[in-house]
Symmetry: C2
Subunit: 202 residues, 2 copies
């Protein structure tokens, strides 16, 4: 078989799909290799361990997000409130599409991995935490702008931003457990009502 320049990419995207639609522990390297049409030796040429693969998958998807629908959702041209709507809609349509293809709602890869491995693997946990921190920062900017232009009353924008991210993850968790993307559509709008008040600065 000839050398294909995209071997690493094939491994990465295959692993990403499998980890997302099942779980970290449930997907073996052998299975990834088979689906990616790669031999084990090649795999370990590119990734020293399964843990390294997981890190690469996380980075890969995080980048895709940052340059994909997250960038669109948090477009500075959009009014702050609409950005939240956009985000919820994007999650809804994404999960719905995924369910139509696979029959099951995969949920959020980061959330899935976080709950599965963060008590066992400090390195992965830290990486996932960084991804969440970045996501939270986008909400934070949005809220700061909303407060600045007066569209919402002052509040603890940093805490509320994190709260909104938490809410989104929680909604996805429940929707996945119900295997019903409609949960996202119904509960999603609630994200705009979350408020954490400023701590009195005395």
């Amino acid at each position: 078989m000839s050398i294909s320049p995209d071997t690493k990419d094939r491994i990465l995207s295959t692993a990403r799909e499998l980890f997302h639609s099942r779980s970290y522990a449930d997907v073996g390297i052998k299975e990834i290799c088979t689906l990616a049409r790669v031999q084990k030796g090649s795999f370990y040429h590119f990734f020293p361990s399964k843990q390294d693969l997981a890190m690469a998958v996380i980075d890969d998807m995080s980048d895709d997000w940052a340059h994909g629908f997250v960038a669109e959702a948090f477009d500075e041209a959009l009014p702050p409130t609409e950005r939240l709507d956009y985000m919820v809609d994007a999650v809804y349509y994404w999960q719905k599409a995924a369910k139509n293809v696979e029959g099951r709602m995969p949920g959020c890869l980061f959330g899935n991995l976080a709950l599965e491995v963060s008590t066992r693997d400090e390195v992965i946990r830290a990486r996932l935490n960084a991804v969440f921190a970045k996501a939270s920062a986008r909400f934070h900017e949005t809220l700061d702008q909303a407060v600045e232009n007066g569209s919402i009353p002052p509040l603890d924008t940093e805490a509320t931003a994190t709260a909104m991210l938490a809410y989104l993850e929680g909604v996805i968790l429940l929707a996945k457990t119900r295997n019903d993307p409609e949960v996202v559509r119904i509960l999603g709008p609630g994200i705009k009502t979350i408020r954490i008040e400023l701590k009195p600065t005395n």
Copy 2:
């Protein structure tokens, strides 16, 4: 060795601890047996499979909750708003205590299992869904009473109840990823601000 009448209970509580502090896939039956001081033959005498064990663990913990702090939190004697505070506080102190003992925040067993196995195991997924439905029902009652006694304006109590549960799970997810129970204390109060409006009944 003598026959001990609580073999099944030992297996159950050991499995519960291990599943909670690690994950379903990461904990083997052999390890459970060793810690519970039980032989494999005995294990499979009481539980036909690992899946059955998981179901039993879920039921076990669900019952403990229902008769434990959930019953206290949703005590009808408490004003509805205080019940939400109680719930958040309980989660906070519980997670904090667990972290002090084990060094890591275990999060919510149900949430953990839901994200790990619900794409692979319909039976467990359905059971977890039922547990969430029961929890959501408690929030629902609470909100109905709050609306009834006028302490909050009318809203879609059913959807909001689910949204609150989602928020709680999301907060726990983020806290676990940060391995910091303080996240629960800081974001927790936000649960009372979540509102999902009634759909216009036309």
